[in-house]
Symmetry: C2
Subunit: 353 residues, 2 copies
């Protein structure tokens, strides 16, 4: 047996990452608690009955949109910690990020807490990046309780990425509406009904989309890439999941994802759901549905986890999706690469009394 | 023995995180290789003889500053992987981030590679956040080879955070000069002379500094907090380190750090070095020295690691420092919180033949 072969064998014996970049968590870290705060428009939709706090005024008592966004994120983290029965002193680290320049919502929210903060940026896939890194720290024995959180605000996102609201610009039909909301969950060692079994790391995929109003098309190839690698590594298929949830592809992006998957011989049409597509009940000016880091954060940390807790879904694959652009990159003619990190959740059978 | 006490004991038996938020890495992941690219002004300084690529033109053959920054980062990652003797296929994940809005340099650099990408934002402490998360993945058995990388560019940072260069604004004496450069290192399991023993996670500290030209003052409290917690958790003191290296406090910020540490009964004046303070040889218009995510990235990944490899420094504590602000947060009257993540490196004795 050659040395190189032995080394390779040793590598595979030791690490838990499969060739398609899927991590398997031996101790199966649990979602110990979760919380979501959402805005007034989101309250009317599917998550209205599940979110912990629903705002009647999206300013949330603050003087600016950015401060309101930060306050929502901070509230979601506080609520998740409170619902877990833990105190701030039990939390080992907060993973958070948001869409604002220099992730100021997350940084300023982290100022409210005494535990450490690791800042992330993965656009609208920040929720799953935070969940997977939390699971890594807990499974690796580096932490007992981690918090993963993110959020977004329609008005702060419009101001930063698009036009001042006061201009009253019309929106093209392929556009989405940034969700006002924040979600957080506490990922812990061995306390909770929902286990994190595995996670597939995202790769940057760029199919040359340059339309900044068509995020769904820009992100769909990344979601397809990650979900297909997840299936390859786990030896499973769409039928093994009650739900395959993407982040914020929207209605159009979801169609593209299903097409791309179908071309690869994988039919997800029966159990694919997109958080952006379901977050608003009535489609008016939000066209393709919701978007933003807060979109999948609120849907997962209210509606989905509640349903899983109730035993309605057993196995869920959550692939949040992010579009990696800035106004500068698009202004300089760059295309919009996408990324998607996936996390596999499983509802455990109730413990025997 | 109460259940709560047993749980607490079980917790401490299992996790490697000490109460001050220090992670101890049992397998001591290694810095397998490192690479740095620096600009023309930086070439004249201490790192000039150590960087792998020194630019004669800071545009690096690109049409915009942002594209030049991205190219530097991509080149640093490629060089680090090449010097490690590995191929792209051996890399399990890239941790990277930068100072530009929506970390476009890191995202677009990641597009050049086929391995997964986890985006970070921790301002100028991104280098140590990337190194510590790389060590977590390797030590936890989730990966064999990770790359941590970051960079910055003077001209893109000025354009985004301050004024157009064409305005020719004067700079106040407390200001620093954003380093043009990028650094990357490959963190691996068991191959290399430099081991990562531990890392202390940063907490957001805010002492109310609002002067956007005085980053050193804003970040010094966070650096002091992290270094003191590191000493507490490891039971060591400044004398146990050949060097205690901060990221980019600059000359003024370094004085503040030394004062803050001295007030806590900890004298680091003998072995504290700041990357920002040493990166430029001649202080002209850079006043307090260098800054930017690239500052500590190039100094660590050229000068420091080369000296460690040569056996000149045995134990080094690297505490990169970040100022968590955006033009929007400062414009809205917010203060500037700081953060600092620390990583402990040790030069291992040469293996016996």
């Amino acid at each position: 047996m050659s040395c190189a072969f032995e080394c390779r064998m040793a590598r595979f014996a030791y690490i838990t990452m499969k060739k398609g970049n899927t991590l398997f968590f031996k101790t199966r870290p649990r979602v110990r608690s979760y919380a979501a705060v959402c805005g007034s428009k989101e309250k009317e939709g599917v998550i209205g009955g599940y979110a912990d706090v629903t705002l009647s005024d999206d300013m949330y008592g603050e003087s600016t949109y950015e401060k309101a966004e930060c306050k929502m994120l901070s509230a979601a983290v506080s609520l998740a910690v409170e619902k877990s029965g833990l105190t701030d002193g039990d939390i080992d680290v907060l993973f958070s990020g948001d869409l604002l320049n220099q992730i100021i919502s997350a940084s300023f929210a982290a100022r409210d807490f005494q535990f450490p903060f690791l800042g992330l940026y993965s656009a609208c896939s920040t929720m799953s990046e935070g969940m997977l890194l939390s699971a890594v720290l807990v499974d690796g024995g580096f932490a007992v309780n981690c918090v993963a959180a993110t959020g977004s605000h329609f008005a702060s996102a419009e101001r930063q990425y698009r036009y001042p609201l006061e201009l009253g610009c019309t929106r093209p039909p392929q556009s989405q509406w940034t969700v006002t909301g924040a979600g957080a969950c506490v990922v812990s060692r061995g306390a909770g009904n929902i286990a994190i079994n595995s996670a597939t790391l995202g790769r940057v995929r760029d199919w040359g989309v340059t339309d900044v109003n068509n995020m769904g098309a820009a992100m769909a190839p990344a979601a397809a890439d990650t979900i297909l690698r997840h299936f390859e590594d786990t030896g499973r298929g769409p039928e093994d999941y009650d739900m395959i949830i993407t982040g914020d592809l929207g209605a159009l992006g979801s169609r593209i994802l299903k097409d791309l998957m179908w071309e690869k011989g994988c039919d997800v049409s029966d159990n694919h759901v997109d958080c952006g597509e379901i977050v608003y009940n009535v489609i008016e000016d939000e066209f393709q549905g919701g978007s933003g880091a807060g979109c999948s954060a609120v849907v997962m940390n209210s509606y989905i986890f509640t349903k899983m807790d109730a035993g309605l879904y057993k196995r869920v694959l959550f692939a949040a999706t992010g579009a990696l652009l800035s106004t500068v990159s698009s202004g300089q003619g760059e295309s919009i690469p996408g990324i998607s990190h996936a996390v596999e959740f499983e509802r455990l059978p109730p413990a025997k009394e």
